[in-house]
């Protein structure tokens, strides 16, 4: 017997096609439409239920498998699902893909004309030094130089903090710094615009990226732990992207990256590298300390 034949007559006062097309208009716009009612043989309902439950079960198994594949190994070990490290090929592929999609969305949202909100001095909040490593000894400050490479001139430029303060106009701004961890702080900064430095020392024409290196490069036990971030050139040109020299009206302290740090309010705090020693312009995306540790590469907020 054909399955169709098991579906028997539908209520006579209603339309009987599989689509519930009602000939009379509902009394009100919000009135519920009569749902489709049919009569079937009990075994047909059982057949449908079995088929859909099997599909549902397959979906549930797939969801659990996907969860196990995506969860980090330490989590699975704690749950007792695995007992030793296992390497699935391309395990991280989907997670990395979603991170890249999110970076593309962030880049699409960015506009060099859109300024971030600024605050008044009464809204300033405490700013913590969130660096886990050892703060370097202040002995580097007297010899501190900023090196510029990847310039249009092909030269390598070395500048002292006095050069920078003398040749560039300082801009003040009270903006919020947002950390990837979820806290934020409103602080009063002053510094030269990165854009002004780019105008004074233009990068090579094919450059799209900036690599910034820092002299804050020690781990928690004083071990070497070089810190470097990548920044897209478009964000470097944002009018609120500063090479900051002052915090709360005073020159930067050692904790906050003396004598020169990056302040880029349209990026997460981890891009706001302290005690910059070297700026290199590059055509290809440079390495990034936190991107190597599983965070995003763009980090736009």
């Amino acid at each position: 017997m054909n399955l169709e034949d098991k579906i028997s007559a539908v209520e006579p006062d209603k339309t009987s096609s599989t689509e519930p097309v009602s000939s009379r208009k509902p009394a009100s716009f919000f009135q519920e439409r009569p749902p489709l009612e049919i009569e079937v043989a009990p075994q047909l309902l059982r057949l449908w239920s079995r088929r859909d439950l099997l599909l549902f079960g397959a979906g549930a198994v797939a969801a659990v498998a996907a969860g196990v594949a995506l969860l980090p190994q330490t989590t699975l070990k704690r749950l007792g699902i695995i007992h030793e490290n296992k390497n699935w090929p391309r395990k991280e592929w989907l997670l990395n893909k979603s991170l890249r999609i999110d970076d593309d969305v962030a880049e699409a949202l960015y506009s060099s004309d859109r300024l971030v909100p600024t605050y008044t001095k009464s809204q300033i909040t405490p700013l913590k030094n969130n660096y886990n490593g050892a703060t370097p000894d202040h002995s580097y400050i007297p010899e501190w130089r900023l090196t510029l490479e990847g310039l249009a001139s092909g030269l390598s430029i070395s500048l002292s903090i006095r050069n920078l303060l003398a040749s560039f106009q300082l801009h003040e701004q009270i903006t919020r710094l947002v950390c990837v961890e979820g806290w934020s702080a409103i602080a009063w900064w002053a510094g030269l615009r990165f854009d002004d430095l780019l105008r004074a020392y233009p990068p090579m024409s094919q450059a799209k990226w900036v690599r910034l290196e820092s002299s804050v490069n020690l781990g928690p036990w004083g071990n070497p732990d070089p810190y470097y971030v990548s920044l897209d050139l478009s964000t470097a040109r944002h009018p609120q992207t500063l090479l900051a020299t002052h915090l709360n009206g005073h020159p930067l302290t050692l904790d906050h990256g003396a004598p020169l740090r990056l302040l880029v309010p349209v990026k997460l705090g981890l891009k706001n590298v302290k005690a910059i020693t070297k700026i290199t312009y590059a055509a290809e995306g440079p390495k990034d300390y936190w991107a190597e540790r599983g965070y995003s590469n763009y980090d736009g907020v």
């Binding site: 017997m1 054909n2 034949d5 098991k6 579906i7 028997s8 007559a9 539908v10 339309t15 096609s17 919000f30 009135q31 519920e32 439409r33 749902p35 489709l36 009612e37 049919i38 009569e39 079937v40 043989a41 009990p42 309902l45 449908w48 239920s49 859909d52 549902f56 979906g59 969860g67 995506l70 969860l71 330490t74 989590t75 704690r78 997670l95 990395n96 979603s98 991170l99 999609i101 962030a106 960015y110 859109r114 971030v116 909100p117 919020r176 947002v178 950390c179 990837v180 961890e181 979820g182 806290w183 934020s184 309010p265 349209v266 936190w290 540790r293 599983g294 995003s296 736009g300 907020v301």
Partner: protein
């Protein structure tokens, strides 16, 4: 095909055993069933990764406990559980039991963020398909609260509260009558869930892009407040799921089956309705 013609054809081919029929009604559309079940793994992933993200910088803090050195109320919940559940005493210090067992674990911010974005994009996609599908199919009408809902919902609430007592004392206790797809209490709940989903997405974007979408962050009262919104919206889903699952299981197999298979035997004519 005209109704009468179809009826005639079926009558003509029907055999005596097909006369044993069960009357069923199409309860849930495929769209509703799919988006409903997809939300289970997606929301679980969002909550687990979200709690790991929360832990990197907890919103709620108090003065550090002199004994455990802990200052986070969620960790206190874990300490309390460890102290009162047999077999968990060894976990009570350090105070991270709750995070080790109800999140991805400590030091997982980078992984948690990637997992959160993956689940968030799937959640938005699922929600968008549901909203567009419901708008086109008209299914949203059965979720829309009505003017009489406040009175009807309180009746339904008292029915739910008193039905276990009635069952225990073997008294018949009839539910309030209604002739819509959902009762007033269900409408309130099922209308709020997509609303909470939308708010979760909006607050999520407000936290994720507080500079480019600063106006969105401003609507929710600023960056620090919007994290609190997002946190409590998570609890809305958790607190919704508990009575939701209990009531479905109490209501029986037909209700659960209708969300998987789509058909229900509770038709307007059947006696158990």
């Amino acid at each position: 095909m005209p109704a009468t013609q179809l009826d005639n054809e079926r009558t003509a081919t029907s055999t005596p055993e097909s006369r044993a029929v069960v009357r069923i009604v199409r309860r849930h559309h495929l769209l509703v069933r799919y988006s409903h079940w997809l939300n289970v793994p997606i929301l679980l992933g969002l909550i687990l990764s979200g709690l790991s993200i929360y832990w990197a910088s907890p919103v709620y803090q108090h003065k550090p406990d002199p004994l455990t050195g802990n200052s986070d109320p969620i960790a206190d919940v874990g300490i309390w559980i460890c102290a009162h559940v047999p077999g968990l005493h060894q976990y009570s210090s350090p105070p991270d039991w709750v995070y080790n067992h109800i999140s991805l674990g400590p030091g997982m911010l980078a992984v948690a963020l990637r997992l959160h974005w993956l689940c968030a994009y799937l959640f938005m996609l699922n929600g968008l398909v549901f909203v567009i599908g419901s708008a086109m199919g008209g299914g949203w009408r059965s979720l829309l609260p009505r003017r009489t809902d406040l009175r009807d919902a309180s009746k339904m609430f008292w029915y739910y509260i008193s039905v276990p007592v009635a069952k225990l004392t073997h008294r018949t206790w009839l539910p309030p009558r209604f002739n819509t797809k959902y009762n007033a209490l269900q409408r309130a709940a099922y209308f709020s869930v997509p609303g909470a989903g939308l708010l979760s997405v909006l607050t999520g974007w407000a936290i994720h892009k507080p500079m480019q979408l600063y106006w969105l962050t401003w609507i929710f009262g600023g960056y620090d407040k919007v994290r609190i919104w997002h946190f409590w919206l998570m609890w809305f889903f958790v607190l919704f799921v508990v009575p939701h699952v209990i009531l479905v299981l109490a209501d029986g197999w037909d209700t659960l089956r209708s969300m998987i298979v789509g058909w229900s035997t509770r038709t307007k004519r059947s006696k158990d309705f």
